[in-house]
């Protein structure tokens, strides 16, 4: 393939990756921003979403489209409920203390992972996409007759991948709207800015924390359900999303949603591009290097709010 079409392909793959990462990282960012909790188990909520998607879709074996829709509707709320239960039983009792909750979520990571291994098994399992048409993408070439379109071999995407991008952007826009307008966002931002004063204004911060933790896990699970028809479900699949989400949250500026969105696009796209042209490992190395540089030179993040 020529360079141009190859780049388009890489950009498309990057966009799919970036949009799912955006959802996952938004979840992590919300939890960190509002609760000051570093959720090390975030990737496991992602994995749980994918695994539950496989299970739920399995109930509708003969109707993959129905199965996927059921997974999309059921898996994220189920994961959110599990997260809420963990918040009530563990994080709440630790007073949502930033340090002790890290240890708690590390524990949760292993509990979820091992429980999944014991029940779901070590195999990677697929979920069938509800639709999956191949869409060839035209490219321009200059011939003696002027500009003309043609369809290079291998330059294509699928309708499902486009759906993933649209759905992930729509869900992220929903989170954005929720935070920027309306009562819920106001309450969440007040809790984030000053927990004590928020309570002095009738905001039940511990309920807010439960909601945010559940929402964060639900977003990770939603990202997973969207991507599982492309990637398959596996009990160890939470590692990459966790690492990449952390990278995004640090580069975007801790607790900044706007920064998280931009950083997810940057990291997801470049991860996709570098993976296509070079190797996925190089992509991770570069991203980690970028994190190190950001931490040293711009600790507030590349896109975070200006330091006060």
């Amino acid at each position: 393939m020529e360079f141009g079409p190859h780049l388009i392909l890489a950009l498309l793959e990057g966009l799919v990756q970036a949009s799912v990462l955006m959802l996952t990282a938004l979840g992590l960012s919300l939890v960190f921003g509002v609760m000051r909790v570093v959720n090390v188990a975030h990737g496991e909520f992602f994995m749980l979403g994918a695994v539950l998607a496989h299970v739920v879709a399995g109930w509708f074996g003969a109707h993959p489209a129905l199965g996927f829709i059921a997974a999309l509707l059921l898996a994220p709320p189920l994961v959110a409920l599990a997260a809420l239960a963990f918040d009530r039983t563990v994080l709440h009792r630790l007073g949502h203390d930033p340090e002790r909750t890290i240890v708690a979520t590390i524990g949760l990571l292993y509990v979820i992972q091992q429980l999944t291994l014991m029940t779901f098994g070590p195999e990677a399992r697929p979920v069938t996409a509800p639709f999956n048409h191949r869409i060839a993408i035209p490219w321009i070439e200059t011939t003696a007759a002027g500009l003309s379109f043609y369809f290079p071999w291998g330059l294509s995407t699928t309708s499902y991948k486009l759906f993933v991008v649209v759905a992930a952007f729509a869900a992220s826009a929903g989170v954005w709207l929720m935070m920027a307008r309306g009562r819920v966002g106001l309450v969440l931002r007040a809790t984030q800015l000053d927990r004590e004063t928020a309570q002095a204004f009738a905001i039940p911060v511990h309920q807010v924390y439960g909601f945010v933790f559940a929402l964060g896990a639900g977003l990770a699970a939603l990202g997973a359900v969207l991507v599982v028809p492309i990637r398959q479900a596996h009990y160890l699949m939470g590692g990459d999303p966790l690492l990449l989400s952390f990278i995004v949250v640090i580069i975007g500026g801790l607790g900044s949603l706007r920064g998280t969105v931009w950083a997810a696009l940057l990291i997801g796209m470049s991860d996709g591009i570098v993976s296509v042209f070079f190797s996925p490992t190089l992509a991770k190395i570069l991203a980690t290097l970028l994190v190190a540089l950001v931490l040293v030179y711009r600790p507030g993040g590349l896109f975070g709010a200006k330091p006060a």
């Binding site: 009562r183 106001l186 309450v187 931002r189 007040a190 800015l193 000053d194 004590e196 004063t197 928020a198 309570q199 002095a200 204004f201 009738a202 905001i203 039940p204 911060v205 709010a305 006060a308």
Partner: protein, 232 residues
């Protein structure tokens, strides 16, 4: 009694600040609380709001025990708070700060309008970020935010800190207007002379309890009292 504290022990974790403190505040009354730095004035307010650890004693609002309630339920019963240092939600706009006050009460527009009527300058700055306001404007916003919940009890923690005389007068007049309207006002102040005019009672906090509960007239008659308890 609008607000009644009895034999309160309170503090933070293992640190005890208030020791057997009792205090009463009637509707329409302005009680000015004085005390040295670290005496526990702010802690007293936080204890009323359920934000400090209360270990013993009862706090009643209109006869209802609030000492055992979770903090977030107390503002709903009509307790407004203007914290020391203002504690605005700086990254939010003026309007959003007021909205938070409103959400803590019954959300009534009339309450918000009357709060804004007291501080018309805020009306011109509704879309501005709270942390870009001047110090005086920030204090007005902290007051207005608390008023938006329609308080029956108003806790003012050093509302005139760092303000010029005209601003102090504005805040003071607002407090006395609210008291005239039946609000019970608990006012912490460092500058005694700034509040003597509007206080109905003056109390001194020392060693975690009220050392003296008296009237402004008695204080004017014997200035050595102020010196003794506040050290100025």
């Amino acid at each position: 009694m609008m607000l009644e504290l009895r034999d309160i022990d309170a503090g933070y974790g293992t640190v005890q600040v208030l020791r057997g403190l009792s205090l009463q505040l009637a509707a329409g009354e302005v009680l000015c609380l004085l005390g040295r730095n670290g005496a526990g004035k702010t802690t007293l307010m936080k204890t009323i709001l359920g934000l400090a650890d209360r270990r013993a004693g009862s706090i009643r609002l209109d006869g209802v025990e609030i000492g055992t309630m979770p903090a977030y339920r107390i503002p709903r019963l009509g307790v407004g708070y203007v914290p020391q240092g203002r504690r605005l939600f700086g990254e939010m706009t003026v309007a959003e700060n007021l909205r938070i006050g409103q959400l803590a009460g019954d959300g009534d527009e009339a309450t918000r309008n009357s709060a804004l009527a007291m501080f018309p300058r805020l009306e011109e700055r509704l879309g501005q970020r709270a942390d870009t306001l001047s110090g005086g404007e920030q204090q007005m916003l902290a007051m207005a935010r608390a008023l938006c919940l329609g308080p029956r009890v108003l806790l003012l923690d050093e509302p005139t800190e760092g303000l010029q005389p005209s601003m102090i007068a504005l805040i003071r007049d607002a407090a006395s207007a609210l008291a005239a309207g039946g609000v019970a006002v608990l006012l912490v102040e460092q500058r005694v002379e700034a509040v003597l005019e509007i206080a109905d009672r003056v109390a001194f906090l020392e060693n975690g309890r009220l050392a003296l509960d008296t009237t402004p007239d008695a204080l004017r008659a014997d200035e050595s009292l102020v010196h003794r308890y506040v050290g100025v």
